[in-house]
Symmetry: C2
Subunit: 412 residues, 2 copies
């Protein structure tokens, strides 16, 4: 079956998280992703839990990619990169803005090598503006973007999210922008530069919080698990645990209180409109908790969902990946890695019925595709041998199970 990105070659200069997430999304859709790594490899090869020589973190973010180990500090290495770019549709990098140009691959040079190329920079703050040169990091982007200011309890400090949200959102926007630019290229014959910055991505998720700030000038407070305007809403106490309930409008509230046999509250003068309920939140919660405590979490979740009240429980990762729905959606998959066993990883968040995403190759050993890729751009076996001897390129010593960087030998 023809995948959506069939025939698209991506030269991937990214490492760690935001960029590799972007190119993983492209690879999952069928692009040929060529990960260009330095001699020591993407640092993630050595991060997280290593099993049978393979970092499961690396395996997850680098499925569906090829690896070529190439010294980009050398002139010969740069020449190979140029030849690779000439054959590519997309170049993705997550260096600090300006670094690629310093390496000799500024916009004019890229245009000259390949006018059809889509170039994407995934970075921290964007390449224009006073902070363009600042080093970026997810935690800092969470702080600078305002994310932390609206995350956390009202009486506690601003809170970062445990998910590396700004890295991943930037990677996802980058993948979206690349597909848009590819379509543009197909229409016009010309590639262009795409840019996705972590802070911009996180700011863009401010949604109605931003609209309200712009309309009123009031800074949104942190409200923890309470709704800033609506009550009842939040976590309620069943006999064996909490249930999250979101009765976001009067219709759903009627269903919720009806299911609890508390519909009379809606005509109780203490609670007969939202401002009153909001003002007496704690009192109302106590009444609802009293009723909720008579049944289990699972019973309430079944009952409330059945009558159309959005609800659920706070699941930890063990519960998430045991959840029958998460399993039905195949959000956890097992991938065979020759030489390193079976690796469990996250599944595919976007489902295409006709051309579903799949793992067509496991994450590559460092340099595992060096020979194949070099041959694809016309190098002879002899040239490849010479480059290896000069340590400009490296091929994996063995085709299987060579995931970690070879440590440089000590000087003689």
């Amino acid at each position: 079956m023809t995948t959506p990105l069939d025939g698209i070659r991506v030269v991937d200069l990214t490492r760690v998280l935001s960029g590799p997430f972007c190119t993983m999304l492209l690879g999952d859709m069928g692009a040929e992703v060529i990960k260009v790594e330095p001699e020591n490899g993407d640092p993630v090869r050595e991060q997280g839990t290593i099993r049978e020589g393979l970092s499961w973190y690396f395996a997850s973010f680098n499925r569906n990619k090829k690896s070529i180990a190439l010294d980009l500090y050398s002139e010969e290495g740069k020449e190979i990169l140029a030849r690779l770019i000439a054959t590519a549709d997309v170049l993705v990098e997550n260096f600090r803005p300006g670094v690629l140009a310093k390496m000799g691959f500024g916009p004019e040079r890229l245009e000259e090598i390949n006018p059809r190329l889509v170039t994407c920079s995934v970075n921290g703050y964007g390449s224009a503006g006073p902070y363009a040169d600042r080093p970026a990091f997810d935690f800092i982007a969470q702080a600078m973007s305002g994310f932390m200011s609206v995350n956390g309890a009202a009486d506690q400090e601003p809170m970062r999210s445990g998910q590396p949200i700004t890295d991943l959102v930037a990677g996802l926007y980058a993948a979206f922008g690349i597909l848009a630019a590819l379509r543009s290229r197909d229409l016009t014959g010309r590639g262009q530069r795409v840019e996705s910055a972590m802070v911009n991505g996180a700011v863009s998720l401010m949604a109605y919080l931003a609209s309200e700030f712009f309309a009123t000038g009031r800074v949104p407070p942190r409200t923890g698990n309470d709704h800033p305007l609506v009550a009842p809403y939040g976590l309620f106490q069943a006999s064996d645990g909490e249930v999250a309930v979101a009765p976001s409008n009067d219709v759903v509230l009627g269903r919720f209180l009806g299911a609890l046999d508390l519909r009379d509250l809606l005509s109780d003068p203490r609670f007969d409109d939202n401002p009153k309920r909001f003002g007496r939140r704690a009192e109302l919660k106590a009444i609802i908790d009293g009723r909720m405590r008579t049944r289990s979490q699972a019973e309430w979740i079944a009952r409330l969902n059945a009558v159309g009240v959005p609800c659920g429980k706070v699941q930890d990762l063990a519960e998430v990946f045991a959840d029958p729905q998460v399993r039905a959606q195949e959000m956890m998959i097992d991938v065979d890695h020759p030489g390193a066993g079976t690796v469990r990883m996250l599944g595919f968040p976007v489902k295409l019925a006709g051309t579903p995403c799949r793992v067509h190759r496991p994450a590559p050993p460092l340099g595992g595709d060096t020979g194949d890729v070099l041959r694809s751009i016309g190098l002879s076996e002899r040239e490849i041998g010479d480059l290896e001897a000069a340590r400009i390129v490296r091929a994996a010593a063995q085709p299987q199970g060579h995931y970690m960087p070879r440590k440089p030998e000590p000087a003689p």
Copy 2:
């Protein structure tokens, strides 16, 4: 200039947030988005702060769209929808799974009307599996996906994010999936179904938290603003406020302590490796805070960034939108709304250098494009008049400034 989605017609049956965010992203890239609304309009038209008859929340999420008010409960309304779909490239909906089929537009019917159509469902849990019929809501998806389990302080309850993160991530994945499916269609001539679920999207952002759980079986704890493994890291106390600092590896840590004139700590037997530093986090933080208090936030942020230490401050929305970098990146834009003044809204998170996103039309009045859209599918003025008289379609009473639904007249 030819936009990336030039010539792409999107029939948009979505409302509120996840779906409208998806179609906004498509409209920003130049697609023609036709928002099909019921007589009372998208509920968001009446949500948030209303200025001059216009909800700024609605204006922000519905820029670059047309509006047609159409009664989809009537046979005539369904016939018009079918004609519209026949001319479209993409159909996006965020009903509960199965609702569109019940309306008479199941997959076979859509295929029959338009085999080149890309259909996208943005939903809560995915259309297959035991929870497919459950009503969805961002807060609940944050709970069920595990997001809340890793968000918050260790000694506090699991925390939802103030950003409606699962709605927006699902909308963004949907936009990415639609572009992939359009490319597939261009290659094969056939459309297909795309699906993006809020819970799946949030699960997919678990990144290394999921990898570590899969590799070790250990459930990741909430760690608040502390790094789960590395110290020093987090918020430190300057003379006039906190500075977020992320020294994620030994090189950056050396720079950080060097800038503080505390490099000696690295050879202090109490702090000479990360496990020791992590075990004496509080003690180490006290030493660092002592030094940080000698200068202001701004001074430290300038100094540390200059030596390559990722750092910044926790900004609230007033600070974010006053930030010179956020302004240089145009993440806040002003859009003229005829009849409703100038509306400030979020800018574009993905930057395309050649074909930048722009607002080519402000959010539409309810039914503001009914006549134009109906004429584009071949209806005559007389047919349009008859449909209006029968209240199957409605056109905006005045071309400008009619953003809110007309309340139904009382029965005679």
